[in-house]
């Protein structure tokens, strides 16, 4: 069980950043994961009063505040229209509606959790994170950065024309995924993200140009094999490494055929 000695609802990001420099203090998001932890936190830093619970959309990008709930991105018409409902597909089976009303995008992305559907889908898009201290960083870089005392402020999704499809395998609805997969094509490059490997999501680009001639049944199969051969998997109680590698091939091929309009 986690305990807090103090609670501060901060008035500014600077105040939160200063407080977060102390190792025993913690930023709190939706409290879904933190609640299951153990130990004592000195000061719980609440950023929920900073107006970061909105999604701003203009012609070029979506700016998703760190405190936006998963339910909000699930129901956001613009984001789902842009992503061909990939965002909705990624979050709809995360526990239940009540959970998704509380869990935040910032918490999901900052945590860089292995099981994260949210990280998997946004990593396959033209996505950046806005950090209070470090500024704007591509999500593909952020995912491999060490956790520090910075604060994730927003997720920025560029409206780069994209084709994307998301799917995951779960032993049961509402459980963690056994494997999560998103396939996208933008800027002339096919990209696949594999999450719940069970390690954190990994981004595999078509560096060998397997898809250069477009999506066909044969190229999709070859690309799926390529992705599987570049994706480290491991075993846990939800599935073996071999099963996950098999799922990587199946889901990659299936998503690819879907964005190609073949399936």
């Amino acid at each position: 069980m986690i305990t807090f000695q103090k609670y501060v609802k901060v008035q500014s990001l600077d105040e939160a950043y200063e407080l977060n420099k102390t190792r025993k203090n913690r930023i709190i998001g939706g409290m879904m994961w933190l609640r299951t932890g153990r130990g004592s936190v000195n000061t719980a830093i609440d950023i929920s009063g900073l107006g970061l619970d909105t999604i701003e959309e203009d012609d070029e990008e979506f700016k998703i505040g760190a405190m936006v709930s998963l339910r909000k991105i699930e129901k956001h018409e613009g984001l789902n229209s842009y992503s061909n409902n990939a965002v909705q597909s990624a979050v709809k089976d995360i526990v239940g509606v009540q959970f998704r009303n509380m869990a935040t995008v910032g918490g999901s992305i900052w945590g860089r959790f292995g099981f994260s559907d949210v990280l998997t889908v946004f990593l396959a898009m033209d996505t950046y994170v806005e950090l209070h201290n470090a500024g704007i960083v591509p999500l593909s870089e952020f995912v491999n950065m060490k956790r520090d005392d910075d604060i994730l402020v927003r997720i920025i999704v560029k409206k780069t024309p994209i084709k994307i499809s998301y799917s995951a395998v779960r032993a049961q609805r509402t459980d963690f995924p056994v494997l999560a997969c998103a396939v996208s094509e933008f800027d002339g490059m096919y990209k696949t993200t594999i999450g719940a490997r069970p390690g954190k999501a990994i981004l595999i680009k078509d560096e060998d140009g397997i898809m250069a001639a477009g999506i066909t049944s044969d190229s999709a199969k070859a690309y799926a094999d390529y992705v599987a051969s570049h994706t480290p998997t491991d075993s846990n109680l939800r599935g073996s490494a071999e099963y996950r590698t098999h799922l990587t091939k199946v889901l990659t091929e299936r998503n690819l055929l879907r964005i190609g309009g073949i399936e």
Partner: protein
């Protein structure tokens, strides 16, 4: 201790709470015993309450975050619930009944958001409410019968 002011089932309440107190405990301390303690890991839906009309899990909600908000529990929504709970009871949907208040609270939220849901929409919305006695079909039949009865009216 931290001062909070909130509205609980229409009644204004002022109190002092610990920094790490969760809403579930606060509500039970204020005689809202419909709010059940289940998994305490945000998975089972037993502790569902409405915060500003939105279903949330009180086991994982810090009480201080309810400051300035409106909280509703089943104690405050008896009339709204009475329109459909009889249909669920008629199906013998619950055995022990422990999950029932959470189910009812989330069903209220569902019907406010989507007054005419399909069976798949009902299943999806209530997926975060676990029942260890039943197979969920009884609850689904009960809600479906309620919706069908409304159409006849």
């Amino acid at each position: 201790m931290i001062d909070i002011n909130l509205t609980l089932n229409g009644k204004k309440i002022s109190d002092q709470v610990d920094a790490d107190s969760v809403l579930l405990d606060f509500l039970r301390d204020h005689d809202c015993y419909s709010v059940k303690r289940g998994c305490e890991t945000s998975n089972c839906g037993l502790c569902t309450v409405l915060m500003d009309g939105m279903p949330v899990l009180s086991c994982s909600m810090l009480t201080v975050r309810a400051d300035g908000h409106s909280i509703q529990t089943l104690e405050g929504l008896q009339e709204e619930a009475s329109s459909f709970v009889g249909f669920i009871a008629d199906q013998g949907a619950d055995q022990c009944g422990f999950c029932n208040p959470g189910f009812v609270m989330n069903t209220i939220a569902l019907l406010r958001e989507n007054p005419d849901p399909t069976d798949d929409e009902i299943r999806a919305f209530l997926a975060g409410n676990l029942c260890r006695c039943s197979g969920y079909e009884g609850q689904l039949r009960g809600i479906r019968n309620y919706l069908n009865s409304r159409v006849k009216e």
